[in-house]
Symmetry: C2
Subunit: 340 residues, 2 copies
DNA sequence: GTTAGCACTCTTTTGGGCTGACTGCTAATT
DNA sequence: AATTAGCAGTCAGCCCAAAAGAGTGCTAAC
C-alpha cells in the first residue's frame, strides 16, 4: 500500500529530526519546525496512522514517536534527500588518496580511514577475494631449505603472504625451473581455472606435480577472505552516540567490531556490484546487534573488484551523509585507480 | 623512609583486597579477613599513617581506603607474592605456540592473543625494529617496469613489505646483477652498518649506487617501528571492569587502544631487556589515561629481540596474574624459538 | 478533513528522611 | 607506649512521595 504524499513528508521529517536530535519526535515539534501550515492535532492523527502501519513506535503512551526499522528502510530508499559533500570534504578525500596509493593494501587502509573520519562512524573494509583474478607472474623465493615464499602478480595486486613446502633435495636451479614451467601453466589464467585443472595436468608439467599441488593450496588461501584482508577504523566512534550510553550495548557492539573474523563474515556476503547496500536492524544478520545498521558499497576499477567498504553504527545514523560519503569515495577512488 | 613490617603487611592486604573487590577497604574488613589478632582501631591508626605517607586515599571522610599509584608501585616491586600459573594455563600457552609459529608475525599475533585471554585485559605487542639485525639475503623482484619488491632475509624473519624505484631502462639481467652485487655488500652486515657505509661505497659497487641508496631508504623503514608492527587484542576487555562504567573513561581508553600509532609510541620506549616493566598511572606517559597501567616485557631468543608485549588496563589490575602470565609466556616462547 | 481544548498517562526531577558503613578521637586498658 | 573499646560525626545510597513536564488520544466544534 502506498502512503499519501503528506504521510511520506511527515515520516521523512520524523526520521530527519530523530536522526538529528536522538529525541522522540512530537507532533508539536513537527509543526513548529516543518509544518507551520497544519495544526499539531492533524499531525497527531497522521502519526497515529503511521504507527498503525508499522513505521513508528512509541516508548510509552505519552512519548513522542521513534522510527521503526521499516521507516529507516523507506527513508533511505525513497524519502531522504541526497546529501552533497562540501568542496572541503571532496578535497580531503582526493588529497589522502593521491598521497599514497602504491598498493592495494594501502589504498584500503586509507579508504576506511577517510570513511570513518567523514562519517564519524566505525568503518570496515575488506578486499574482494582473488577468485576470478588472472595471474600474470608467479615467482618462488626459497628462504629456508624446505620452504619458499610464493609471489603472485595479478592485475590488481602483488600477493606475497604465502609459503609452500619444497623438498629439501630440490636444488635452487630446479626450483627456478619449476617456477618457469608453472609460470607458463598459470599465467593468463584465473585462480579458479588453475584450481580446476588440478588433476589432468599434462605431461609437460608432470615433473612438478607436487609443487603445483602446493601452489594450488596457496592459491586457495587467496580465494576466500582472510582476516588480514579486513580493515577496521574508528571503533571508538560509537561512544559519541547518546543511545550508546549503556555499557552492555557498547560491549555488544565492540565485541563485533574488534574482532576481524566477525566483521569478515559480515562483509563477505555482498560483493555484488558498486551499489550501496543497506542492512538495517538485524535483517537476518545475527552478527550485528539489532539496533545497528551496516551500509556498504563495493568498488571496482577497470572491471576488477577492489573491495567492499562501509560503516557500522547505530540504526539512528546520518544516512544522508553516509551514502554521500560512500558514493563520493567510490567515485574518486575508482577514477584514480582507473587512470593509470 | 622505610615502612614497618606491619605497615607493609597491612598495605599489601589493602591492595590485595582492593584489586579483588574494587571496593574501598575498611579497617573492619581487614581485621576480619586477615588480621584477627589486632583490633580495627589499631588498623585504623595504621591506615591513617599510611594515608599520611601518601600510599592511601579516601574518597570522602567516611569511606574506606583506596591505594594510590605509589602504593601499587610498592606493591608490585616489594609487597605482592608472585603468582604461579596452573598447569592448564601453561598447557594452553604451549598448545597455541606449537600450533603455528611459522613466521614472526604469526607468533606475535598469537602472543598477544594468549596474553589477552589469560589476563582478561587488552594486550598490545610490537616487533622490535631491525636495527641490529644481520642480513642474510637480499632479493629484488620487479613487478612493474619502474618498481621492484625488496625481499630481505634476516636471522629472525623475512621482510617483504617494501618497494624501491628502479630505472625503467634497467634490464632484468642488470637487476639480477645489482642484486648479486648488493647482496655481497650487505650480507653478514647489520642494518645499522649498511646505512653507515652510505657514502664511501667502493668502486666495485659504484655502478649500483642509486639502487643502493634506494635500498638504504628501504632498510631505514625497518629500523623504526611501523604501525604494521603493532598488534592489539581484546580492546573490549576493559568493559568488564566495574570502574570503567563511565562513558568518558571508556572513550578515553579506547581512543588510545584503537589507534596503532598511539600504542606504538607507548611501546617503542622501552626495549631494554627481558625484564618486566611497569608503568603505573601516567608516570609522564601522556598517552595513557592516568588511571591506567601498562605492564610490558621484552622477549628475545638466541640473543635476538623478538618484541615487546604487555597489557594495558585499569590501575586496579591483577598484577600477580599479569606478571605471572608475562613471565611464563616469555619463557615458553623463548624456549620454543631457541630450540630450532 | 481540520482543529482547539482538555483529560489522562507516563517519565523525570526534586527533596526529605532514613540507614549503614566508615572514620577519628578520646579515654581506659594492657 | 602501644592497643583497644566506645561513641560521635560524616557521607553515600536508597526509598518514597510529590510535583513538574511532555505528549498523546479523544471529543466536540468548525
Amino acid at each position: 500500500m502506498e502512503l499519501s504524499e503528506r504521510k511520506k513528508k511527515i515520516l521523512q521529517y520524523v526520521v530527519d529530526d530523530y536522526i538529528e536530535t536522538a529525541v522522540p519526535v512530537s507532533s508539536k515539534s513537527l509543526t513548529e519546525r516543518h509544518l507551520s501550515n497544519i495544526s499539531s492535532a492533524t499531525v497527531r492523527n497522521e502519526l497515529s496512522a503511521l504507527e498503525e502501519l508499522g513505521y513508528l513506535t512509541q516508548l510509552h503512551t505519552s512519548s513522542g514517536r521513534v522510527p521503526s526499522a521499516e521507516a529507516y528502510k523507506l527513508y533511505v530508499s525513497d524519502l531522504m534527500v541526497k546529501d552533497k559533500l562540501s568542496d572541503k570534504e571532496l578535497d580531503y578525500i582526493k588529497k589522502i588518496f593521491l598521497e599514497k596509493a602504491d598498493n592495494l593494501e594501502e589504498v584500503i587502509k586509507n579508504t576506511t580511514k577517510i570513511i570513518s573520519e567523514l562519517t564519524s562512524l566505525t568503518s570496515v573494509g575488506v578486499v574482494s577475494p582473488d577468485v576470478g583474478e588472472k595471474i600474470n607472474v608467479i615467482k618462488f623465493f626459497r628462504f629456508k631449505p624446505d620452504t619458499a615464499l610464493v609471489l603472485i602478480v595479478t592485475e590488481r595486486r602483488l600477493l606475497k603472504d604465502n609459503y609452500i613446502n619444497v623438498p629439501e633435495s630440490m636444488t635452487d636451479e630446479q626450483l627456478v625451473e619449476a617456477e618457469t614451467v608453472l609460470g607458463k601453466l598459470c599465467s593468463g589464467r584465473s585462480f579458479e581455472e588453475i584450481c580446476s585443472i588440478k588433476d589432468d595436468i599434462s605431461s609437460e608439467f608432470a615433473g612438478y606435480k607436487n609443487i603445483f599441488l602446493n601452489l594450488v593450496e596457496a592459491l586457495k588461501v587467496y580465494m576466500t577472505v582472510k582476516e588480514s584482508d579486513v580493515v577496521m577504523e574508528g571503533q571508538d566512534k560509537i561512544l559519541n552516540h547518546p543511545e550508546y550510553a549503556d555499557i552492555n550495548k557498547i560491549k555488544n557492539f565492540l565485541s563485533v567490531v574488534t574482532q576481524k573474523d566477525k566483521v569478515m563474515t559480515l562483509l563477505s556476503g555482498d560483493g555484488r556490484d558498486i551499489k550501496i547496500n543497506v542492512k538495517i536492524g538485524t535483517d537476518g544478520y545475527e552478527e550485528i546487534p539489532d539496533d545497528c545498521s551496516l551500509v556498504t558499497a563495493t568498488y571496482s576499477a577497470n572491471g576488477v573488484k577492489i573491495g567492499t567498504y562501509g560503516v557500522i553504527g547505530p540504526i539512528r545514523m546520518d544516512y544522508q551523509k553516509v551514502v554521500a560519503v560512500l558514493e563520493n569515495v567510490g567515485k574518486i577512488l575508482e577514477s584514480i585507480l582507473t587512470n593509470r
